[in-house]
């Protein structure tokens, strides 16, 4: 089964992080996922977390250039959400999903596992950046994440010129890389 043109357009919008597209997908599919979670021992907050995580799985999929879902968008989001929620329930030793399915499922185990691995990596990066402290944290975020110009950064952070700011930035980067790779190698050994 091929996803139709409208859904293809949505996926392309999602790939570039278009806010309107996200709103459209959110509006059409959130309530279904919320029903799934709430009928299975979850709260509205859980529903929000799970739906957003499923959106991230989808985002990562389309970011990698694959716009072929091989099923409807709705089925995809439902299957990923269900898988994620099952994992969360069993991790908390709560009850396992029961009752009638609201929607047929589609096998997504691999995607969910890949997502969890990436999520762990991003978590690690977040912790590594946070552990740098100021001004390194803000400096690196401004340059590498928000893609600000070095001149602008020098002005906002109060460096006398862009070269000083650049020097400081590289010092911070060396520290970040050390922390990141120490964790990264640790993580590899555990697997």
């Amino acid at each position: 089964m091929k996803s139709d043109q409208h859904e293809q357009d949505l996926l392309k919008g999602l790939a570039i992080g278009d806010k309107q597209t996200i709103e459209l997908i959110y509006r059409d599919h959130y309530n279904l996922i919320q029903s799934l979670i709430i009928n299975n021992n979850g709260s509205a907050d859980d529903a929000k977390d799970i739906f957003q995580e499923a959106m991230i799985v989808l985002y990562e999929k389309v970011r990698s250039g694959s716009f072929e879902l091989n099923c409807q968008l709705k089925t995809y989001l439902y299957s990923v959400s269900k898988r994620l929620w099952l994992k969360k329930l069993s991790a908390n030793n709560r009850y396992v999903i029961s009752g009638a399915d609201l929607e047929p499922s589609f096998p997504v185990e691999e995607e969910v596992e890949a997502h969890e691995k990436r999520d762990a990596e991003f978590d690690m990066m977040e912790k590594a950046i946070a552990s740098l402290g100021e001004p390194c944290k803000s400096l690196l975020e401004a340059y590498y994440l928000n893609k600000q110009n070095m001149q602008v950064i020098a002005a906002t952070f109060g460096y006398t010129n862009a070269d000083n700011a650049k020097n400081q930035k590289y010092k911070c980067l060396v520290r970040l890389k050390k922390i990141f790779f120490a964790h990264y190698k640790n993580g590899m050994e555990h697997e």
């Binding site: 992080g17 709103e23 990436r118 790779f181």
Partner: protein, 366 residues
């Protein structure tokens, strides 16, 4: 070449910022020097990770914003579980512990309240300073003013030259126009006006509880349009020590933000009606909401200790619920509905403040 210079060269190479000559020279170096080659590989990988991390973070915060917006518009059924779904959820989740907890709680409550009643000392009130501001031209009482007030009451418009003697802060608890502030801000008031950047409105005192230092006001002005529901919720729990908190209030003629943390669970001299917070509070901050990072109002700033700087006290949020309950009993025709669920829990602080500030008013009294 120092470590930093080397890293800079590698990064410029990866990002394609080198000019052709530099590039050729660098590629030569890379071929001859295995260490440099490894650094290029490693750094490429690292920059990729960092880039993807940045996109992931941006996407996540975008999702939060979309969720909050759609929930506000009512396009998705969120923020509140209603009716059957909520009962089902609560029952499933709590049926096992519920009955045990209830019986233990009953016994404990009776014991503790007995002990507290026996041992708590009466608090010395001289060290406690209420934070309402006294304006300089205070105690302006003439017969002329009394007649003016009568006119105001009849005309329901705010006269230009009304002299206000004290003031504080208040915030909306029900979008129909109910505000809460401190009792000491409005006690003995002839006229009350609330003001923020949206406008200036006449208000009247609905209910006052001097013991808990709380008062409910209602905006009676014809020009007041009402709101959608409040973005923040009122929390019955104070939270954990060291929880970060912030407040918006009117110590001057403009709304002022300050932040701090919860520093003790009890208030001045062991007062269990309130809690202690570390925040810079000034005259005029009385009645400001104390809000935690999830956008829940945990209390109302009501005073600070005169012989120590930096810490202030807040009346706990649960007493707002009690006050609104007693109002409901007095006058069932105007029920106050408190928002029990914050719609801004996952937004950044600055976004939260942006959404809250329209709901915070300066309370002017004479």
């Amino acid at each position: 070449m120092s470590e930093l210079d080397r890293l800079e060269a590698v990064e410029r190479y990866i990002k394609g910022e080198m000019n052709p000559d530099e590039r050729v020279a660098f590629e030569q170096l890379r071929k001859s020097n295995a260490e440099i080659d490894q650094l290029v590989v490693e750094h490429t990988f690292f920059l990729q990770q960092l880039n993807r991390f940045g996109e992931w973070k941006k996407f996540r915060s975008l999702l939060q914003v979309v969720h909050t917006d759609l929930a506000e518009q009512g396009s998705i059924r969120s923020t509140r579980l209603q009716g059957k779904a909520r009962i089902l959820y609560l029952y499933n989740r709590y049926k096992r512990v519920g009955s045990i907890a209830a019986s233990i709680a009953l016994v404990t409550t009776l014991c503790i309240s007995g002990i507290i009643w026996i041992f708590s000392p009466p608090s010395p009130h001289s060290q406690f300073e209420e934070l309402n501001k006294k304006f300089t031209q205070l105690e302006y009482k003439t017969s002329k003013q009394a007649t003016e007030i009568d006119q105001i009451k009849r005309s329901s418009a705010i006269p230009v030259d009304m002299p206000f003697t004290t003031g504080g802060t208040g915030f909306i608890i029900d979008p129909k126009g109910y505000l809460v502030t401190n009792a000491h801000v409005v006690s003995g008031a002839h006229n009350i006006v609330v003001q923020n950047n949206k406008g200036e409105y006449l208000a009247s005192l609905v209910l006052i509880d001097k013991m808990r230092d709380l008062a409910i006001l209602r905006i009676t002005d014809d020009n007041f349009k009402g709101y959608g529901s409040t973005p923040y919720s009122i929390s019955k729990k104070a939270g954990q020590l060291a929880d970060p908190i912030f407040t918006l209030g009117y110590p001057r003629n403009e709304v002022v933000y300050s932040q701090g943390y919860l520093s003790a669970r009890t208030g001045f001299d062991g007062d269990t009606l309130s809690c202690q917070i570390e925040i810079s509070a000034n005259r005029g901050n009385s009645g400001s909401p104390i809000i935690n990072r999830r956008g829940e109002v945990i209390g109302i700033l009501n005073g600070k200790q005169t012989n120590a700087e930096g810490f202030a006290f807040a009346v706990l949020g649960k007493y707002i619920y009690q006050l609104s309950d007693s109002l409901r009993k007095l006058d069932p025709s105007f029920p106050i509905r408190l928002n029990g669920r914050s719609s801004i829990s996952s937004l950044d602080r600055s976004e939260q403040v942006k959404r809250i500030q329209d709901y915070v008013y300066m309370v002017k009294v004479n």
